[in-house]
Subunit: 341 residues, 4 copies
């Protein structure tokens, strides 16, 4: 059984493990003040081309989201997210558990635009309602779509103009930034947002995300929030070593490009076989619409999620590729699909 | 510079890293439902000699404490802790951030006893005050003391008799259980508490703690709480693999015994040199009281915390040993101390 | 200017003020343990025909909702409400501020039914999502509709069958219970819900609501929650005296009937003039759809909310009657409407 | 039985009730935007001699404290209070329930001074601990002592110098300001604090406190916090009318002076009879130390709290006077005491 179920089925890229082994017995400071974390932060600042950002490592995406949003907002302020946003659906009310409402905005393609956000702002008029304060997006979105530079610029300008913070959940940021048509890079991410995180766990690391805060007003005392929410690992070195290795020479983007290329192969073959897709995803998550009969056949050899029912005969499935997906697995899937078409 | 500053200066025991490498490319389920976690849980149940406990892995101690206490208590209920308790002093108000007060009880040796808790119960008489509901202790305590079986039995009986839950923070549990005079083991811990955690991070793991819930009323829906607080790692395998390795053949206790033995060497030498200790610690944290002049000399070659001022000429320091402390380092410290005495 | 803007424009029914004056200098216990509160609770139990309910007085509806829901649910549990529900729209995220998500369910008439709730239950399948635990409805709803006995029975049975608590916000409960076709009374409310509140502020009192808890598992320690959220008034007598007066001889229902009768007069005249309504409201809130031209004329002499735009020429407005609405005001409105038709 | 148990045994001063009756049928805006609230705020600003303060009415002291402190602090920030402070002891963890720790500082006379606060600041050194941000005092304190102008000036200067907010719980502020030796008035309170509240409930009102915010950085969006915590009464007129009446012509201070005068009579007689006091209270709460035998005799005719055991033969009791305490009651108590001495 080969899994296309997600991008966290395997461990870490071998180079990361090797560095963990090589540095294992070096005695360093705890709680993220070790030389590995400090070097990784310095390196990331170079890659972002900004010395004035603050960077913190956190062990997972939900934790990064809940710490950031609760640190950035006052009690009566709310986040705005697409109805399919991860914080609205798949984090067990983590943001609400910190006291903040998340306002849901319908979005067929999982993206937020000024036009989609504006009605939510118009609706929240006075102190009997929460005050929208932060726009949460993820890039790629939950359904694999990615933001283009122009889209992000417009969203950024809209947020600035309406006193809204813009926060980007980058669980799979590598894949989004390696879609050439999107024309975005780490520097643009820092410039066009107030804070975003560079996802490690789903992009080759064993565990860990790097939060980048570029809005100066959000930086103060952030380590207090990390500690209060249980995110300050005593062996913070684990974070630093991984990000050092991922960004030393571009491994992070190499892995993302591989992941995208495997998705390209699948996408082209599926489209070539005459099937359509639920969303127009250029990233490492695909949502092809297939006959149920074919899905059953594919399930004999491959593991993946059935995403939604389309009609009595067809469903959409989710296929996820990763740094660890090998071309043979992709070829096997394509062959199988063509055989049972 | 040799560090006796803490027990998290190095990475993980090499065997753990090796198993991480060996299993790296195996595709498994996410979020702690992988075969490694399931096997590790089965193994721990054997070691605890109880099939009916629930076990969850969490990445750090503060996170384990805050998730457990907030899941176990209703909003008006409070925890009781020694004034030096970790949740009272060194977790940035993590428990309060979940809405619960922590009641502080003075304790010179860091331990709680029925006699010390009773006045707090007597004081909280009605609905104008919080309701004491959970007794938080750590074993070893913040100052290195450990609970003996009889002490824990008495505390357990007292809690049962007063409708109090007993929770044990076991960040360094290995060290406590390997103090022979304490006569405690994992089975006793499960029997005499409602929940406790087996600390991994400070006992040879890279990251991770294993929470053991033996009170059936506290088990329901616990994974919801893990997810809501950001503790359900997508690559949960990292936790399972480490605990599998630590408990497969007793490595966990081997490491703890080594750590204690290194502390024994230090303790004996310090006492032999005529110095006293702030607390009567049989575990891997020692608090010798030394002349400031000697401390300054030792600081030239060794890293450690100065704990408290005793008088104008003397201070207590904290020395921590670990699985990674080598006998040479201990000998060097002792030699240095004797030279500058 | 005559106001039909809401049912809290005036003070309290004069009999209530008179009793406040008459009992003013009597020394009584504080914090709701005074003889007035105790007698009022006894009286309400008689009216509900149940000795085994718990009753608490709270100063407002939002406070009653937030204390109840946060006391009744564990941290990972969520409430389900109609998308127009007061807790979702007009309480500034009060429920979320206690840590709980509120799940929104579309409902054209503001009511919840098993059919509308079921999809929300089906959607929330595992620990990555909140756990629906409590169904919040208000009676009357935000748009004036009321539940009939059969509807409430079906909802109650559905909740019981799905381990859901049923909570009723009764800010205007008097009006709902005085709609004869609804066939509901206080006894039925206690029987068919886990908790509900009898609104005082909008039904003739100066300030205050009476929360009735019939589910035994929700009763324990409730006064702790009242105090913790700032709801235990030191001069609790203010609550007791008002509810004593309202329920001593049926004043509460007399006032509600008057309020409904004033709404009947308006409804009949508006319908008679050929206008339709946004919702089919038999209670004291009406939502007629009127030409904008007529609305402008009416605004010269009357105060009311414009509720929503219907088309370029018409809008719905909200008219609210109360115990204090006099027949002359209603006649004046009707006359004005007919003149400018 | 005559009660000296507290200052909230009776209702409101009759003039307040009369104005409630007189204005009862006037239709006004809801939620504190009515003309009574607006006029009362204007009047209070005159009395404070400051146009630039913000004033909000809240129904009780615990609610005022919890809304203010949670609105003023970020999640990792903590309040500092005397160990006997109301928020530490008698509010069921209301502050912690909003997520904030309260740091306890020992204080024999219930007051805070720079010298008592400084060690708490020194102790909280880094992000592993909460960050002290707000100093909470009450005036009078829980044990009846009051701050003199010089003391408050020193505290204010210390707070300013250490980036701490100074907040005063004024549940019985009238009594404190009417102690001539204290040399404080409303103007000084606004000048020397960031926020304070003028207690109504214990000073002649039926219910309600007036929060005064003078620090501009704390004013923004405060009505959102009021609504979110359930404090925005729909019939806000109840608050406005009471404070209008209390401050129209100095009634508030007349009542406080009466209350203090009744306490003076008691204090002088008790001291004259040779008894001492637990604290040096010049306000309306006295804590005489009396023989148990005498206490038992007094309990036959008077209601009061036994505060603490002094030795085997003596206890301290708490006697509270109020606007409603009549000279005959005081004379009866004194006579009784002298008789059974």
């Amino acid at each position: 059984m080969i899994s296309f179920k997600n991008d966290y089925s395997e461990g870490a890229h071998p180079r990361i493990l090797k560095t963990l082994v090589d540095t294992n017995m070096e005695q360093v400071e705890g709680y993220g003040l070790d030389r590995f974390c400090l070097e990784a932060i310095g390196l990331l600042k170079q890659r972002i081309n900004r010395e004035d950002v603050d960077i913190h490592f956190v062990s997972g995406g939900t934790q990064t989201n809940l710490i950031s949003l609760s640190a950035f907002m006052r009690p009566h302020e709310a986040a705005v997210a697409a109805h399919s946003g991860h914080i609205l659906v798949h984090e067990t009310g983590a943001i609400e558990a910190t006291g903040h409402k998340v306002i849901s905005v319908e979005s067929p393609d999982g993206k937020l635009t000024p036009e989609r956000i504006a009605p939510a702002l118009d609706f929240h008029t006075d102190e009997h309602m929460v005050k929208p304060r932060l726009v949460y997006i993820s890039n790629p979105t939950e359904v694999g779509t990615v933001y283009g530079r122009k889209e992000l610029e417009e969203l950024h300008a809209f947020c600035k103009g309406h006193n809204l913070l813009l926060y980007v959940d980058g669980a799979r940021l590598g894949s989004a930034l390696c879609v050439p048509a999107a024309e975005l890079d780490l520097e643009a991410m820092a410039e066009l947002t107030d804070a975003f995180y560079i996802g490690g766990t789903k992009c080759g690391a064993l565990v860990g995300e790097a939060l980048v805060i570029s809005n100066p007003s959000l930086k103060e005392d952030f380590r207090f929030h990390l500690k209060q929410k249980g995110a300050l690992l005593s062996k913070g070195r684990l974070m630093g070593i991984q990000f050092l290795e991922l960004f030393r020479d571009g491994l992070y983007f190499d892995l993302a490009r591989h992941s995208n290329r495997m998705a390209d192969l699948l996408r082209n073959a599926i489209a070539g076989a005459g099937y359509s897709f639920l969303t127009d995803s250029p990233s490492n998550q695909l949502f092809p619409i297939l006959p149920n009969r074919l899905i059953e056949k594919l399930q004999e050899d491959f593991d993946f999620y059935i995403w939604s029912k389309i009609d009595d005969n067809r469903s959409s499935i989710r296929l996820v590729t990763s740094w660890a997906t090998c071309e043979e697995a992709v070829a096997a899937f394509i062959g199988n699909m063509q055989k049972h078409r």
